[in-house]
Amino acid sequence: MFERNQKTIFVLDHTRYFSISSEQYISMDYLKGKPLPESPASSGSTPVAQTQLSKSLWTCAVESSIEYCRIVWDLFPGKKHVRFIVSDTAAHIVNTWSPSTQNMSHVSNAMMMVSVPSRSIPQSSDYSVIHGLRAAIEALAEPTDDQVQAAQAGCTKISNKGRVICITSARDNTSMKSLEDIFNTVLLQQNALAAPPGKKGLLIDHCHLVILNIVPLGIESLVTNRNLLEISPLLDVEIHTVNAPDISDKLLHLIMGHYDLASTTVTNIPMKEEQNANSSANYDVEILHERAAHTKVCGPDFTLPTSIKGGTSYETVTLKWCTPRGCGSADLQPCVGQYNVTPVDVTSRPSSCLINFLLNGRSVLLEVPRKTGTKTTSHMLSARGGEIFVHSLSIARSAMDEAPSINDGPGGRVSDYRIPELGQLLKMSRMVPLKAKPKSRISPGEHLWRRMPRYFPRTTNVTILFNLERQLTWLPHFLHLLVKEDMDKQEEVRCQQHIHELYKSASRGEMLPFSNTNNMRPKASKSKDQYRLFYRELEQLIQLNVQTPRHKNLLESLQSLRAAYGDVAGKSEAGVAHLRSYTESPLSPERLEPSSVGSTNSSSSLLKASKRRMSSSGQRSLLDMISNAERNQSSKRLDFSGRLCTPVGQTAKLYPDFGNKDKDAITPSLLQANLKDESIRS
């Protein structure tokens, strides 16, 4: 879990020696374009040679170590940590393991305050890199946020390895040896502190110390290079002597191994010339990423072509830029791995051209030649959210190639799926990133399902309602009201009106306006059927959406309407009863039994009555009529016993005698008294 490259600490020697020049001179004169005409000594300052300048050893050390962490933080954002410690008379901590200080701007701002070591300070033994190395070991013992989390999660054995890269300058092998020894001793001491009684910080499992001994250009060092050597079970040390100007190259080589990186050179990128916008030339850009981006792409009949760039000693894989053919980053590629990338030379013009091309939302496929002579795109570069990734594409043959079409499979020949309707639903349930989990959410699935309709026939040939949605202008709104979770009184009235309207047009024998376009236009003889089915479907729809008493009211009026229409589904009776047991709670009012002789009579009489009233009293509202009919109807049946024995105005208690069986539940006298009021409310 916590690998060695999890923690890296740079220890920068800030002693006086580092103020000297690296002896590599940068000319600024060429900038003039043409040589400056020998100016008369008007300006006073004569030395022309001063427009040459050189970096100090300190500048070389800082810029190369900052470049190292630029790469690390670009490639492993938030995952790999780098710290800086500056050492002179004491150790100065530049940043901590905290994510807020693990970024370029924090480090460079802090470095501004450190600045180049002063030349005027006296040479003294107080100035030493040892302070920094001690501090580095202490820093290794400090846990990162991830390690703290692991400890909180109850992990007892937290692995804790790290790497210390020390940029210093030693006189000879002897002083280098003593540096090693001191480091090893301090490491042991630190672990002793971390051991059980003290428990100060984490135990350091292993440390890899890289010492870069730097000298100005042209100076021979007495320190010999040494490859990785195991000093103790806890400590490996390697020593490299480099000229100051080459230290960046050295670190670039080292970082490849430290983080198992690989380099890819994108070749043949066509770019406009800087000077002449009309001509274009091909450029190469080298990028870094995890090695896995290469190894994941696999196929036996090809290998990634490699080459070695001038001045380096590591291999880079050369892949050819494919001119994107309207290939937006939207196209879904079969991708087996995605990795952050960063250009090796972030400020060069070709790099920034490629970067901007990608950041503007276009993606680039990279081509690799196959053994057979054909070419395959093995990788893709694309940017998302301001980050550039290399995608390793799957190039081997896939078992899913040459797919039979879904239209040849089950359900593939059905032509009347309600695809546009579902499409609308998808658009309405498009996800967005939130800052925190929504409070009401139980599970991600449940969160969506609540938004999906509770009744959604898959095809149009099994629904009457959704076939008529276009033709009956009031229907969509009605359906919308029906499924509202918080239906209010007014809406209920609207729905009741619609139901009644429907009843009226049914009794007038009007045909439902099925559209002519589909060949589903039914025959006139089926006019009765169509309403029956309409009612049945409506009833199912409400059944599935019963949320409030208002829905229940609607359901009841619909059911009585169905009964009135003589829709007695005798054979499905068992099913209905069965269904009810699923959908109804004990609180549900008792239902009409349209099959029983009595109620059939009563409902037909009810309809007769309502018809009569409709013709006679034009003044009454529909609501009055319906609710009156309802009242008549429900007065014939017994109300829920719990309500009957509860005084008016109070909420009926469910199972008041639960656990108290011997008591008599119903008081007959109350029953009569409350009957009327309650039935109106229902």
């Binding site: 005409p37 300052s45 800082v62 040849d408 799926y417 499409g423 990133p433 969160h447 599935l544 099913g575």
Partner: protein, 592 residues
Amino acid sequence: MPTIIALDASLSMLRPVPGRNEHTYQSLALKGIQHLLDNLTAAGKLEHLALVAYSTVCELKVDFTRDYEQIRQAIKKIEPMDKACLLTMLKTSVSLMATWGTQNLLQLVVFTDCGAGFGSTSIAAFLENYAGKQTEAEYAWLKALAHYHLNFICLGVHADLHFTRGAALHQQLLDSAALKGQLFMPKPLKTTENGTDVSHNKSELGRTALFELIERLCESSYKSTEVTLKCGHYFRLESPVLLWPPPKPYEQPATYGGEPTLRHIEQRIDVCGFLALSDIGSPATFSRHWVLAKLEREKPSRRSGSLTAAAKSPKLSLDTGNNPHFELEKLEQDIRDFFTKEPSKEAAEESGDDADVVVVKHTATPAQQEQQKDTLCVLLHGALKLENMAALVLLGEKWFGFMYAYSDIKKKSNFVLNILPPGSHVIPWLGDLELLGFPDDLAPGETASFPVRAERRSYSQSSVVWIRQASLQSDVQKVLRHAKKMPDKTQHFYKELNRIRRAALALGFVELLEALALLLEKECAQLTMNGSVSSECTLQLQHAATELRKTSNRDIKSTIVPLQKAAATSVENSPVAAAAPAAGAAAGYLYN
């Protein structure tokens, strides 16, 4: 799961099966292959199959194909040759399988009488040579073979010592080379019970026994994973589906050390919401699968019996007792009838099925009938394709995938599930997948959209890296270019100047400040000499040079500001004028 069917073509296969005079081992093997093809055809002809016949040489008879008829034809023409050499065949299959890479699960089905081979090409000889040389290049092909799944259909009777010895050697080979595989052997007869004589009519190996082996093979190696896809509470928005190829378990490393665990996807896949395909992009996926509708289907009967029963069953399998959706299904059926029952009422009545099917009713194959049944897969596929969207699905705890309509080059469209690696942070630009919600979940006034932006990387901010001299020089050059164009470019000039100054201070590169001051003075002198420049410009250059040299300015907070001149700068420093060039400069830097 690309599969090589390997048929043992040694002469020993021509022996008659003991007690079964009508069969030789080879004819039985052909029956077995046919039955395997029948089973795979019934499962949708999804597998790519190749056919090889092996003896001392191994010959590719049919290359990978979904056209099983080719194989049926080819097996008839296989002529037995000399002796069996299993290892030649295995080695050949490694090269045949090469095109499939490592993303696919590769399988081998070997029909053999388990001959052990002879002499140097025998299994025993190989095992002897191989011992202790596992790492040598000569045996590198075994590494590739170890990823395959080897299935041996072992044809033989237990009473035959050659067979049992050969089979044991096959097993030994699997074990010592660490190959994944299984031997399918007929069950031995219960010899003890009724003191059998082998010749007495039927032996343990026959057609039925063989078909049983094939069915065991299909059950263990060719079964699609069946899961339930749930996209809402309505029962028609929930449906059993098959995933093919079957998802492999994910080996999850333990969070903090310890043994890795194998994770399988859940039995129910929950759709959590929908995303535009353009927002998803091409994230790394663990595996890809087709999502196929699962319909209740009769098992392919061994004698290809009538499927009429299966065709009829869905219509009224409306078992009222335990079907909670009886009423809804009945309603759907009634409405369907309502729409479709037309003049030909009697005919429809009689068949009780869809009118448009009635015409072809009697000729419709089961597959055609299945095509006429509406499925959630096709519906969801259609809607996703229409809207160019994908459905985000939950496959397990903190394990996601997404389903979408995938069209190949031939415009054939399919419903595909991409399984992501477990974890909720696997697609950086979508953020934490557990934190995805709907616009209604946002606080009032809050907005959210994709992509989720990462912190700025070095390449998307104007980093300063002067490791190469050229980049330092070009930065300095830019300042000078602006210097020449003052007062128009005064803002640009100071912006660039401060950028360089800050970088120089961070790197402790104070030498650069002095050098820059000198350069500015020279520039100033030259411009004055040419006389082509405003006094404003010279004033600003001198001011800048002086400021650069001031040690008091070597502080993190200080910024060099343009020299304030009462008249000229009042216009220039007005907010509008200042803001515009600054923005231009930011963009200009990257491209110029």
